[in-house]
């Protein structure tokens, strides 16, 4: 009996240590990022760095406002395209999909997750960019927009990113929906609700935490994606008001210029990483707060 209790305690310790790994990892990344980024920020001037509209490292001008706005635009776009389609597709997978075609479809969504981003990039460049360009020209000719853009745009990047976050959202949402006990659904049907009403009023609310987790993971992937985005978004480091125009994202800024950057320029890029990191912290905190609010309902 005694040895058994000892193993129990020992394993509990092991589980605890494992749980600490993620905390340790974040702490290490934090230390590394801040130690390398903060000096550059103070040298450039924090306010100037965050609100500066011009990024010309060769002329010692480091303003990342366009990139901040760019990341926001592109991520929002990806959410608009990816989240509804992702959730509705997982509803299909969990509730509608006939057994005969379920397996191949499921395998297909998993495959979507394994396609490297470079492929998405080239696909976007060769297929989506020309489509968006002709779309822009059509709008321009009918006088809806002032500038047709050239296809490498916020809209293109949003579409491709929307595609890229689909498997993450579908995977998590579907398994969360399947985890909802069957009697919830049956009960709702027995009360006379239609299938759709039961799904959207009973199952999805019950699977809420999984659905939110999927969306958060998707947002994380959208903000963090670089290799595909830099091929199709144009990467102009300036502000724009049109989704048919190109823009540069925070991650794009790092990847594009890290290769050749030295000195203050390199540090400014790491500082860009710090801003990105703080961004993600803010998102996570607000989601955590939102969730807590929802749990108390």
């Amino acid at each position: 009996m005694k040895s058994k209790a000892w193993t129990e305690r020992f394993m509990q310790g092991v589980f605890f240590v494992a749980a600490c790994a993620s905390v340790l990892a974040v702490a290490l990344i934090c230390i590394f990022l801040f130690a390398n980024g903060i000096p550059a920020m103070s040298e450039i001037g924090f306010i100037e760095f965050i609100t500066g509209k011009e990024w010309r490292p060769g002329s010692e001008m480091f303003g990342i406002l366009p990139m901040i706005v760019g990341s926001l635009y592109v991520t929002a776009g990806a959410i608009i395209f990816g989240v509804p389609i992702g959730i509705l597709t997982s509803v299909f997978m969990a509730m509608y999909c006939p057994k005969q075609i379920y397996k191949p479809l499921k395998a297909a969504t998993e495959l979507l997750a394994g396609i490297p981003s470079v492929i998405y990039g080239f696909f976007g460049l060769v297929v989506v960019v020309p489509l968006i360009r002709s779309f822009g020209e059509t709008l321009y000719r009918s006088g809806i927009v002032k500038n047709p853009g050239n296809g490498n745009s916020i809209l293109t990047a949003s579409l491709i990113l929307g595609m890229m976050i689909l498997p993450t959202i579908i995977g998590t949402t579907e398994s969360a929906m399947r985890a909802v006990p069957a009697h919830y659904y049956e009960g709702s049907l027995a009360l006379g609700a239609t299938k759709e009403r039961s799904i959207f009023r009973v199952i999805i609310p019950a699977a809420k935490s999984g659905v939110i987790a999927g969306i958060v993971l998707g947002i994380g992937r959208a903000i963090g994606e670089t290799m595909a985005v830099i091929m199709i978004v144009g990467n102009q480091a300036r502000l724009t008001g049109s989704i048919l125009q190109g823009i540069r994202t925070l991650t794009g800024n790092i990847v594009i210029e890290m290769g050749y950057a030295t000195g203050l320029h390199r540090e400014a890029l790491i500082a860009t990483g710090v801003v990105l990191f703080v961004f993600i912290l803010i998102i996570n905190f607000s989601v955590a707060l939102l969730k807590r609010g929802a749990d108390h309902e």
Partner: protein, 286 residues
């Protein structure tokens, strides 16, 4: 459920509830869009890649003439295996801690949740830079598969943790109570009862994680290096398929081989997914 409802019944229900009908249409439309995009994407890769798959692509040694994928393929498998070896135990153990051991409302649990979510949001390029500074330089491992695997392990940890957590939560409490009632200890309950029923969920996470590993470029570029050969040990440098593809495509000299590599990458992913579902079936039966 709908076994006994006929088409006519369905139709009548939808007439009465047009809202439901629209929702159903939306669901169908979304599924169609998703799979159309998918089929289109795969067709695009196949059309561009398959004609360029030649026997010389499978030479044992990489040279600038044949652009062989074999070393990269071996490296990809090694990298996936190593990263999972590190991340899966940590991921599952942390999830067990969070679901089975930690008391509700524990402040520490919230800290772990928050850090996990933070980890999942960190862009891969930042992981790459961190990996280079920490594993490659500070720990002195040099550009190596090991440095790459550790970086990847941190990257996929949140994925595995989250999916395992969800799967563990989905195991009904009656299972646990039944096991306790029969006199099993907590540890035994976790490993014999709870974890086995959560295996399919855990596996879903592992599959997503494998997808991320084989598709990753930015984080590995700075950690595992870009040598196009099979290293002698895990302390040597080697590039994975995705990185191989990125390198082939970046100067525009080997675009055809890059697409062919993409096809092989796809086949690899299909193979891994099939293998894991076989394992899942074996595990759930046992």
């Amino acid at each position: 459920m709908s076994n006994k409802t006929t088409m006519a019944d369905k139709f009548r229900t939808y007439l009465k509830h047009p809202g439901s009908f629209i929702v159903m249409l939306l669901v169908m439309l979304s599924a169609i869009i998703t799979f159309a995009v998918l089929i289109f994407l795969i067709a695009y890769i196949l059309v561009n890649g398959v004609p360029h798959i030649t026997p010389s692509l499978f030479s044992l040694e990489y040279t600038s003439e044949n652009a062989s994928v074999v070393p990269a393929l071996v490296n990809t498998i090694t990298m996936t295996f190593l990263s999972l070896l590190i991340a899966v135990p940590f991921g599952i153990f942390s999830a067990i801690f969070l679901v089975e051991y930690a008391s509700r409302g524990n402040k520490f649990v919230e800290v772990i949740r928050l850090t996990t979510e933070t980890l999942s949001g960190i862009p891969s390029i930042v992981y790459g830079l961190f990996g280079m500074l920490f594993f490659v330089n500070a720990l002195g491992w040099g550009f190596s598969l090991l440095a790459g695997a550790f970086t990847m392990a941190i990257m996929i940890l949140p994925l595995i943790m989250r999916t395992t957590e969800e799967a563990l939560k989905a195991v009904p409490d009656s299972y646990r109570e039944g096991s306790f009632g029969l006199g099993a200890g907590k540890l035994r309950t976790v490993f014999r009862i709870v974890l086995p029923s959560a295996i399919p969920g855990v596996l879903a996470g592992v599959i997503l994680a494998i997808g991320r590993i084989v598709g990753e470029t930015a984080a590995l570029m700075y950690t595992s290096g870009t040598v196009a050969q099979i290293p002698e040990s895990i302390m040597g440098s080697g590039r994975t398929l995705a990185l191989h593809m990125y390198n082939l495509s970046s100067e525009g000299l080997y675009m055809d081989q890059a697409y062919a590599t993409a096809v092989i990458l796809l086949i690899l992913v299909v193979g891994i997914n099939a293998l894991s579902s076989v394992i899942a079936r074996k595990l759930t039966k046992a």
